[in-house]
């Protein structure tokens, strides 16, 4: 079941210069069940000219609160990130398939780049509750860009790479030494496409099952507009309904 629901902002926390964490609760008090890796479509209030909803992945669901991470880039995300406590938002949710958390066993590497780390918090928590061992590999340009680090550390081991070396190892996530020295049973990735392709390539080489979360531009989020398609072995499919999470074996990426 999908819902169109009003939420009230309960917290707006600055994570870094461009990114905020919005916490919100449903105004009717009834939080729909949501799976890790799913997303919501946010109706941006009072953004002139902005028409479509913004798809945003679920960062966490905790204590009756939904957490959404917002990177303020354009007019819509700036309006959203500036919402005060008590502000109201309409969301269509929950959307998409999510990571295959319940099937994952053993050591699961969760790789996130920049704001792409957003869905990994809720996913990591669910993995741990299911008896798997989540290990986070978080990449950012600088130490400040490693968002929610303390929260990840509460759930599992955290590996970090930064492009300037100001935290963790210097370089990209795929250059982290753990990828060469350790063994993983499963990999889940969310971040910029070049990063996801690089991680998928590593997974393919090491023969590790790997899922990526895509963020193709979309309009409806419901499988109606057919705008967000990704080429797969089954042909063009909607990322909003068949994804956003895909096993790399389903994709036609050159790996």
């Amino acid at each position: 079941m999908k819902y169109s629901k009003n939420f009230i902002i309960t917290a707006n926390e600055q994570l870094d210069t461009r990114c905020v964490l919005l916490k919100m609760q449903p105004s009717d008090g009834e939080m729909p069940p949501m799976r890790p890796g799913q997303f919501v479509q946010v109706l941006v209030p009072a953004a002139k000219d902005t028409l479509l909803r913004l798809p945003i992945s679920i960062n966490n669901v905790e204590d009756g609160q939904l957490w959404l991470m917002v990177q303020m880039i354009g007019e819509g995300t700036k309006a959203l990130g500036s919402l005060p406590i008590g502000g109201a938002l309409n969301l269509v949710l929950p959307l998409g398939n999510g990571f295959s958390v319940s099937e994952a066993k053993g050591r699961v590497l969760l790789v996130g780049g920049g704001v792409g780390i957003a869905p990994l918090l809720y996913t990591g928590r669910a993995l741990r509750e299911n008896g798997a061992e989540p290990i986070f590999l978080l990449g950012a340009r600088t130490a400040d860009g490693v968002l929610e680090r303390e929260l990840f550390e509460q759930i599992g081991r955290v590996l970090i790479t930064t492009e300037d070396g100001s935290a963790g190892e210097r370089g990209f996530v795929t250059q982290h030494s753990a990828l060469q020295t350790e063994r993983f049973d499963k990999i889940m990735v969310c971040g910029p496409k070049p990063m996801m392709v690089a991680v998928a390539r590593y997974a393919r080489q090491k023969d590790i099952d790997c899922e990526v979360s895509l963020e193709n531009m979309m309009a409806c989020g419901l499988g109606a507009c057919l705008c967000c398609v990704e080429k797969t072995v089954k042909g063009n499919v909607c990322v909003c309904t068949e994804g956003p999470v895909f096993n790399i074996n389903q994709l036609t990426w050159q790996l």
């Binding site: 079941m1 999908k2 819902y3 169109s4 109706l43 000219d49 902005t50 028409l51 479509l52 909803r53 269509v92 193709n216 531009m217 979309m218 309009a219 409806c220 989020g221 419901l222 499988g223 109606a224 507009c225 057919l226 705008c227 967000c228 398609v229 990704e230 080429k231 042909g235 063009n236 309904t241």
Partner: protein, 302 residues
């Protein structure tokens, strides 16, 4: 409560609200949000004789108060529709209309003939105005001869209500409307999307995979209202109006311009429940203004 029912030739609608093809899937995607019994009908995704993969990603670019798309008629073909999708739709409590596209008059007719056999589909909407496919589509909709040739072929093969969806990308839309009327179209719907383009200046390329796309959303509404007004005065068959309708007031604007029914399109993406709200809103507006029947205001603006 005002009377909302209208007739499009032989097709009775409980209210003037239809959903536009390509914006409402097969209705199934929206059942969590709007009961189908609230709608006059739904027009399902464009269907072609053979399956189509559509255009490459990216297919969508948001623009000021609108969006461009170049989906390119991705669908699994009319035979798949008849076998696998129709069984899920045939008991829906609304009129299910199929939008049909093709690359030749013969293919249009063949596709329409397949749909003619589906008992619970009371009408088709011929898409002679898709701006996003190379073979056919809009090519037929931009000349009187092309439009007439498609309608002539389909009219022979299809016996139920035949709606023809017109392209706004023409010099004189009224003459195209007259051409399809003279070949036996039962109604016209307009407007399809306006051809547009949007450029990513940093990457120095179009934001759409095929360069151009069709513009929809509130940005196109004044153009659509003008064209509905123009066409309603040029033909005697019913006109179905669409283009940027966001709410009941917008719908009434189209009705006053001459539309007997309206289609809700892009705004379904923003509020999946909006089509039902628009149907309710039209009724409320009529009640508030002491109007007993929606037909009293159809084409009231001269």
């Amino acid at each position: 409560m005002a009377t909302l029912s209208v007739k499009i030739a032989g097709l009775s609608l409980r209210n003037p609200v239809l959903t536009a093809s390509g914006t409402f899937g097969y209705g199934l995607e929206f059942e969590d949000f709007v009961p189908m019994c609230k709608l006059g009908g739904i027009i399902v995704k464009g269907t072609t004789l053979q399956p189509r993969e559509g255009n490459d990603y990216p297919r969508m670019a948001e623009t000021a108060s609108g969006m461009l798309n170049c989906v390119g008629l991705q669908n699994k073909g009319v035979h798949y529709f008849a076998e696998h999708i129709y069984p899920q739709l045939k008991d829906m409590d609304t009129n299910v209309i199929v939008n049909v596209s093709a690359s030749s008059p013969e293919n249009y007719a063949e596709c329409a003939a397949v749909i003619d056999t589906l008992e619970r589909i009371p009408a088709i909407e011929l898409n002679i105005s898709c701006p996003n496919v190379k073979d056919g589509g809009m090519a037929f909709g931009v000349t009187c001869e092309g439009a007439a040739s498609v309608v002539k072929a389909v009219r022979k093969a299809y016996n139920k209500t035949l709606i023809v969806k017109l392209s706004p990308n023409v010099t004189d839309i009224a003459s195209i409307a007259r051409a399809v009327e003279s070949e036996g179209a039962d109604a016209v719907s307009l407007i399809n999307t306006l051809m547009g383009m949007s450029i990513d200046i940093e990457r120095r390329c179009s934001r759409l995979s095929i360069g151009t796309g069709g513009l929809s959303g509130p940005a196109v509404k004044p153009v659509a209202v003008r064209m509905v007004h123009q066409v309603a005065r040029a033909v005697s068959i019913p006109v179905i109006g669409l283009g940027g309708i966001m709410n009941a007031e917008d719908a009434i604007e189209f009705i006053m311009a001459g539309a007997t029914a309206i289609e809700v399109g892009t705004t379904n993406f923003i509020d999946p429940a909006v089509s039902g709200k628009i149907a309710d809103g039209i009724g409320q507006w009529l009640d508030n203004h002491g109007i007993k029947d929606v037909s009293e205001i159809i084409g009231i603006v001269k």
